[in-house]
Symmetry: C2
Subunit: 195 residues, 2 copies
Amino acid sequence: MRRRRLEPDARREQILSVAIRLFGSKPYAQVSTTDVARDAGVARGLVNHYFGTKKDLYLEVVRVMLTVPEVALEQLPQGDLAERADSIVGWFLDVVSRHSTSWLAAIGAGGMAGDADVDEVIAEAIDIAADGILRAVGMERRPPPALRGMARAYVGLAVYTAQEWLKRGVLTRDQVHALLAVSLVTMVERVFPQA
Amino acid sequence: MRRRRLEPDARREQILSVAIRLFGSKPYAQVSTTDVARDAGVARGLVNHYFGTKKDLYLEVVRVMLTVPEVALEQLPQGDLAERADSIVGWFLDVVSRHSTSWLAAIGAGGMAGDADVDEVIAEAIDIAADGILRAVGMERRPPPALRGMARAYVGLAVYTAQEWLKRGVLTRDQVHALLAVSLVTMVERVFPQA
DNA sequence: CCGCGTTGTTGACACATCGCCAATAGTGCT
DNA sequence: AGCACTATTGGCGATGTGTCAACAACGCGG
């Protein structure tokens, strides 16, 4: 058996990419560390050596999957609320549809939702998205907790709606876009002020 | 060792109640059939005998948890849209807050989201809720798929928002109520017509 | 070119959980 | 009381996971 010796960073990267592919195609419980090791052409023990526990590996995967380019959030048009809502929704749908399968698997927690650590990682991603929404619609820099909660709820709407489009296929992109844009304008004008 | 022999229905019911309690307090992976058997004062093999696999048992649990009283959905006030939206939202928040912990655990899939069978059970519950929403706001009996998709997305918003209230505590019930009522009216008037 | 130490890598052991099934022993009936 | 029915048990085999001592690939000095 020929062993190949890689730089730790390279090996870690390689195993991680295999894990991303597997966790992106099957739920958590249906992916064994043996699968990851086999596909990476590596002993199972090495996976634990680099990532600790299986859940730790999964946390890394989810982190990568949910890390979306934050770019182009600053260069939003300076038009009125409706225009800004339109463009932020379009940006969100672009990001989601680009790597839809892995994104959906991650946001659905691929079978580990309810676990405290996994929930925390997902919550962070939703927080980032919610803050992006708030900034895009011209909210203050330091929003009160209630306002952020409302923004997170809106992100939840966006997630569910995107699933109806990408997973179920019962909505078109235009319908999703309209639903989210209208909802966002309504929330900004009539709900957010209550916080 | 003293054995006690029960009627199959009674034993099944007893084991199920224990499973509901455990799955309601910990995610799927952290509940072993050994735990269920021990708390039920029963051999582990008996759990498999009555429910088959562990996932089958979990499916039963989720089914029970998400089965909410469909009552009082017919006796909604016949006022205008805003009034009907108000009362359906109030009813939803009542149901959710009554058995909040178990309901949240179930709708979050307690660590099995992504699994096809579990997703199906949850999807059925959301379907029922979505149809209830559509009927409450006076929609047709046989809504087109797109319309049901939009209604399901709204249910998703309700779920996320309820979590911000019950789990995070950053929103008050009044704020949640306002958010959901306003959103529902907006969707019925300006989004649903597109389907 | 050859030992030699560093360390990436392996294989196996211990433990936990699950599905399954033959053996066991309550329970009601004659 | 004896018996048949079946609810119930306990253990076996398979699978998955974390850990760790041992192994070997690669760089380096002689």
